[in-house]
C-alpha cells in the first residue's frame, strides 16, 4: 500500500517504441552506431577504399614509416598497413558473425525451452552450460587447432558453442522471471498454446536483453579471434587484424608504432559494440534510475515556531514539507503536515497510497529515500528541532529514543545473520552493554514478545521463522533500547488476520507497559479503531482531519474522511441468491 509511493513504478519494457530510435537519440549510442556503420562499409567496400591490394608488396617499403603512398606505413613484408586494415575488417566481421549466430541460436533456443518447460530438461541443459562455462575457451580452441585446421571460421563456430551458455543463462533467467507473471497465467487461462505464449509474451520481454548480449558477445568474439590470429593460428594468406598484430610484434623493436593500428581497429570496433549495448541498457533502465543529486538547491530550512512549552508533548511536527528532486524541480510529497503526539499516546496516520503518510514517518526518522529532503517545517522532538539535524546527530537518536517497526517483516531482517546477532547488535551499539548482557536481554525480549522457544529463535536465521514471528522479532528489536517514540509503518499489513490480531495485542501491551508514544501508519480503519488514541487522516500530502478516535468514527468532519469510512465494508447485508439458468446467460 504505502510502499507504492516509495518504490518506483515497475520498469516498463520499451514495447513497440523502437529500440533503434531510442539508441540513436543517446549521444554515445549514436557515435557507436556511426562507427559500426563505418566498419561495415569498410568491410563491404574494401576493394574500393583500400589504395593497394592486401598482398601488394614493395620490398623497399618494409617497415617503412607513414607517407609516400603508404598512409600508415609498411609492414614487415612491405605491404600497406592501411590497406590490410581495411581488408581485415571483412574477416573480423564474418568471424564475429559466425560465433554470434552459433552462440545466439543455441543459447536462446535452449534457454527458452529450459526456462519455460523446466523439469529434467532444464537440469541437463544447465549442467551442459555449466560444463562449457568451466572451460577456458582459448585453451580449448588451441587444443582443437590441429584438427580444425587453419580456417579461423571453424574455430569461431566452436567458440560460438562455448559462448552459448551466456545466452542460455540470460534467456532462461528472463523466462523464469516472466513465466510466473500473472499476465502469462492470464494468457494460459485464455487458452493460448505454449508456443504462442512464448511468441507473444516471452520473446517481447527477452528481446532487448538478448540484443545487449549480442552486442557484448560480438566484442568478445572479435578479441578472441584476433588473439588466435595473433598466436599464428589463422590462415596466413588472409589479411587479419590479429595477424597484422603478430607481424608488428615480430618487428616491435624496429617499428614500435606499427602495433598501434591493428590494436586501435580492434579496440574501436569492440568499444562501439559495448557502447551500443550500454545505450540499449540505459534505455531499459530508465524506469528504475536512482534519483540523482538535485540540481535545484533546496530552500534553506528554518524552524517553525519554538519548542512546545507543554512538557507532555513529545513530538510536534509543524508544517512539514518533504520533497524529491525531479527534472523540473522539487516535487512535494508531504505538503505542510502538522501533527502533535503526547507522551504515552498512540497516533494513527491513516490514508490511501500516495497520501504521504509513510514519507511523513520517514521524515521523522530522518530516513527519506535517496534524494528526499525536508524542504521546510519543524519536527520538535522532546524540545529539540530534529528536522535537518546532521546525520551523525540523528544517528544518536535512532534506535535509542526513536525506533521503527517496518511493514514487511521478512525483507527487513538481514538474511545473512542469525536473529540473535540482529537483536543484540543495536543493544551493544546503542546502549554500550556487553555482548553477554545483550544476549541475556535479547532472550528475555524474545520471551516477552511471545516466542515459544527463545533460545531456538535466537539461534535461527530469518528464513527459518514465519512472517508473524519475524515481525515479533522486529518489534523486540525496536523496543530493546526502550525508545520514547515508536514509528510503526503498516506493521500488520503483511500478516494474516489472526496473526495481525496477536501482533496488535502485543503492541498494545508493550505500549502501555513502557508508556511509549507511537505513530502508527496504516490504511486500515479497523487497526486504527483497535489501537489508536487519536487519528490524523491524510490525503495528497496534507492532513485533512485530526481527532480523537471515538469522535472520528462517530462524527467524521471532513468529506474525505466520510468517503473513506463509507467505503469500509464492515456492515453490509449479504446478497440474496436468485437462481438463474446458465443457458439463458449471455454477455
Amino acid at each position: 500500500m504505502s510502499a507504492a509511493s516509495t518504490t518506483p513504478a515497475p520498469a516498463s519494457a520499451p514495447g513497440r517504441e523502437s529500440i533503434v530510435r531510442s539508441v540513436l537519440t543517446n549521444p554515445l549510442g549514436l557515435v557507436a552506431a556511426l562507427l559500426l556503420l563505418l566498419v561495415i562499409v569498410a568491410a563491404v567496400f574494401a576493394p574500393l577504399i583500400a589504395p593497394f591490394a592486401a598482398d601488394d608488396l614493395q620490398i623497399f617499403k618494409i617497415n617503412a614509416p607513414p607517407g609516400d603512398g603508404y598512409l600508415l606505413g609498411g609492414d614487415g613484408s612491405g605491404r600497406d598497413i592501411f590497406s590490410r586494415l581495411v581488408y581485415g575488417t571483412q574477416n573480423t566481421l564474418v568471424g564475429a558473425l559466425i560465433a554470434l549466430s552459433v552462440a545466439a541460436a543455441i543459447g536462446v533456443t535452449a534457454g527458452l525451452f529450459a526456462g519455460y518447460f523446466g523439469g529434467r530438461r532444464e537440469v541437463v541443459m544447465s549442467w551442459v552450460a555449466d560444463g562449457l562455462m568451466a572451460l577456458p575457451a582459448l585453451i580449448v580452441l588451441l587444443a582443437f587447432y590441429q584438427s580444425l585446421g587453419s580456417s579461423i571460421h571453424v574455430s569461431m563456430i566452436i567458440f560460438g558453442v562455448m559462448l552459448s551458455p551466456g545466452f542460455y543463462r540470460l534467456t532462461r533467467n528472463l523466462v523464469n522471471g516472466v513465466k510466473h507473471e500473472l499476465y502469462v497465467d492470464a494468457a494460459r487461462v485464455s487458452g493460448l498454446s505454449d508456443m504462442r505464449i512464448i511468441a507473444r509474451h516471452i520473446l517481447l520481454v527477452i528481446r532487448a536483453p538478448v540484443i545487449i548480449q549480442v552486442s557484448i558477445v560480438a566484442g568478445i568474439s572479435i578479441v578472441i579471434q584476433a588473439g588466435l590470429e595473433f598466436l599464428g593460428l589463422g590462415d596466413p594468406a588472409v589479411p587479419t587484424w590479429g595477424g597484422m598484430l603478430q607481424d608488428a610484434f615480430a618487428n616491435m623493436f624496429v617499428v614500435p608504432t606499427a602495433i598501434l593500428w591493428p590494436g586501435l581497429a580492434i579496440s574501436v570496433t569492440v568499444a562501439s559494440f559495448v557502447l551500443l549495448a550500454n545505450a540499449i541498457r540505459d534505455r531499459l533502465q530508465q524506469g528504475d534510475r536512482v534519483a540523482t543529486a538535485p540540481k535545484i538547491p533546496a530552500p534553506a530550512p528554518h524552524p517553525v515556531g519554538t519548542a512546545p512549552n507543554d512538557a507532555a508533548v513529545l513530538l510536534d511536527v509543524r508544517e512539514l514539507v518533504v520533497g524529491y528532486p525531479t527534472k523540473s524541480g522539487w516535487t512535494e510529497v508531504v505538503k505542510g503536515v502538522s501533527l502533535q503526539l503526547r507522551r504515552g499516546e498512540v497516533l494513527g496516520l491513516v490514508g490511501e497510497s500516495g497520501s504521504g503518510k509513510t514519507q511523513t514517518a520517514f521524515a521523522i526518522l530522518g530516513l527519506l529515500s535517496t534524494g528526499g529532503r525536508i524542504l521546510s517545517g519543524s519536527i520538535w522532538f522532546d524540545g529539540r528541532d530534529i528536522a535537518n539535524l546532521p546525520e551523525s546527530e540523528m544517528q544518536k537518536l535512532r534506535g535509542k529514543r526513536i525506533a521503527y517497526v517496518p511493514q514487511e517483516p521478512m525483507s527487513n531482517l538481514d538474511p545473512a545473520f542469525r536473529i540473535g546477532f540482529q537483536l543484540t547488535e543495536p543493544m551493544v551499539t546503542v546502549l554500550g552493554i556487553s555482548k553477554a548482557e545483550a544476549k541475556a536481554r535479547a532472550l528475555k525480549l524474545l520471551a516477552r514478545v511471545g516466542m515459544p522457544d527463545p533460545v531456538r529463535t535466537y539461534n535461527a536465521y530469518p528464513h527459518q521463522i514465519s512472517g508473524g514471528m519475524a515481525q515479533r522479532v522486529l518489534i523486540a528489536r525496536a523496543i530493546s533500547c526502550k525508545p520514547d517514540l515508536l514509528i510503526a509503518d503498516e506493521p500488520t499489513t503483511a500478516l494474516d488476520v489472526t496473526v495481525q490480531a496477536e501482533v496488535l495485542e502485543l503492541m498494545r501491551d508493550l505500549q502501555a507497559e513502557m508508556n511509549m508514544s507511537v505513530v502508527l501508519v496504516t490504511h486500515n480503519f479497523g487497526v486504527v479503531a483497535d489501537i489508536c488514541h487519536r487519528v490524523s487522516v491524510m490525503r495528497d500530502g496534507r492532513v485533512v482531519e485530526t481527532s480523537a478516535v471515538q469522535s472520528l468514527f462517530a462524527d467524521p468532519q471532513h468529506d474525505y474522511t466520510k468517503l473513506l469510512l463509507a467505503a469500509v465494508l464492515d456492515d453490509v447485508t449479504p446478497r440474496v441468491y436468485r437462481p438463474v439458468q446458465a443457458k439463458e446467460v449471455s454477455a
Binding site: M1, A9, P10, S12, A13, P14, G15, E181, L182, Y183, D185, A186, A187, R188, V189, S190, G191, L192, S193, R196, H201, L204, V205, E352, D496, V497, T498, Q500, A501, L504, E505, H523, F525, G526, V527, V528, A529, D530, Q550, F553, L563, L564, L565, A566, A567, V568, L569, D570, V572, P574, R575, V576, Y577, P579, V580, A582, E584, V585, S586, A587
Partner: protein, 270 residues
C-alpha cells in the same frame, strides 16, 4: 445441467510431500458468488488455479456443466469450459506492460479463434464500455492507468468470451479502500447483468461478505466450513471461522473493544 455450474468432488493436490488440497468438495451455482476465504497457505489460491486448469490436481473431479475438466489445460478445454476466465490479484503484473489494451482484450478471442480482427475492434469497445472505461483506452498501454482502472481492464478481458464462471483471485486486495469498493460494485453489477458466476478468493472476510452468496472457509488445505454467507460470516459454527471473524478489526472503537475481548475469551477457551 441444472442448478450447479461447477462441482468439485473430492479434489486432492500434492506438491511433493505437501498435501495442499485435502478432499475438497465445493459447488458453485449459475449466477452465484461463492467466497473462498482463508489465510496464507490455506490452499485457496491452489484450488482456484486447479479450476482454471493452470494448477495440478492429484485426484478427484472438477465437473463444469456436466463435463470433467479436472487436470485439463485451458487450451484443451472444449465448449463452454473453454470460456472459464480469471481476474488476478495484482493489476500491475496481470497485464503485459508492452501490449496495448486492445491487444490484451482480444487475446482470449484470438486464442479461441472466435473472431476476425475487424470484428474484434468492435468487441473491444463493447468490453471497455461494460467496465466503464472510455473507448480511447484501447490504443493505450497499461502503465497509463491507475490500479483500479487496470483491474477494470482485467475484468473486461475476463468478460471477452462471455464466460459462465470467473475465478477471481484476491482481485481487490491490492487496491486502495475507496477504489476497492467501486471495483466490488462493478463485479456485482456485471453479475446481475450477465448472470456470470464467481469463485471469489480472498483473505478478507469483509470483502467476501460483501460480494458472496455462499462462503467456504479454508484452512490447511481443507474446507472447514461452507454455507450461506450470512450464516458463515455472522454466526460461524467452526472455531477457526469464529477466530477469523473476531480477529479482523472492525472500524468502530467500541465494537472493536468488544470483539477483542471476545477473541481473547475464545483463545483462552481453546
Amino acid at each position: 445441467m441444472s442448478d450447479v455450474i461447477v462441482d468439485c468432488i473430492g479434489v486432492n493436490t500434492h506438491f511433493g510431500a505437501h498435501h495442499v488440497l485435502k478432499n475438497i468438495n465445493l459447488t458453485v451455482r449459475p449466477g452465484e458468488t461463492v467466497g473462498l476465504v482463508g489465510e496464507s497457505g490455506s490452499g485457496k489460491t491452489t484450488l482456484g488455479r486447479a479450476i482454471l486448469g493452470i494448477g495440478p490436481i492429484s485426484s478427484g473431479r472438477i465437473v463444469f456443466e456436466g463435463q470433467d475438466i479436472g487436470g485439463v489445460a485451458p487450451r484443451d478445454r472444449k465448449g463452454r469450459a473453454a470460456s472459464i476466465q480469471a481476474v488476478f490479484q495484482d493489476p500491475y503484473t496481470s497485464l503485459n506492460p508492452s501490449m496495448t489494451i486492445e491487444d490484451i482484450l482480444i487475446e482470449p478471442i484470438v486464442a479461441r479463434g472466435q473472431a476476425a480482427k475487424a470484428d474484434a475492434a468492435a468487441q473491444v469497445h463493447k468490453l471497455l464500455d461494460q467496465v466503464a472505461l472510455p473507448k480511447d483506452a484501447a490504443q493505450r498501454y497499461p502503465r497509463e492507468f491507475s490500479g483500479g482502472q487496470r483491474q477494470r481492464i482485467a475484468i473486461a478481458r475476463a468478460l471477452a468470451l462471455s464466460p459462465h464462471l470467473i475465478v477471481c483471485d484476491e482481485p481487490v486486495s491490492a487496491l486502495d479502500l475507496s477504489t476497492q469498493a467501486r471495483v466490488l460494485d462493478l463485479f456485482v453489477e456485471i453479475q446481475e447483468r450477465t448472470g456470470v458466476a464467481y469463485l471469489f478468493v480472498s483473505h478478507d472476510l469483509s470483502v467476501v461478505r460483501h460480494i458472496s452468496h455462499r462462503v467456504a472457509v479454508m484452512r490447511g488445505g481443507e474446507i472447514v466450513e461452507f454455507g450461506e454467507c450470512d450464516q458463515v460470516t455472522a454466526d460461524p459454527q467452526h472455531d477457526y471461522t469464529k477466530r477469523l471473524l473476531l480477529a479482523a478489526p472492525v472500524a468502530d472503537p467500541v465494537r472493536q473493544a468488544e470483539r477483542r475481548a471476545a477473541l481473547r475469551a475464545l483463545s483462552r477457551g481453546a
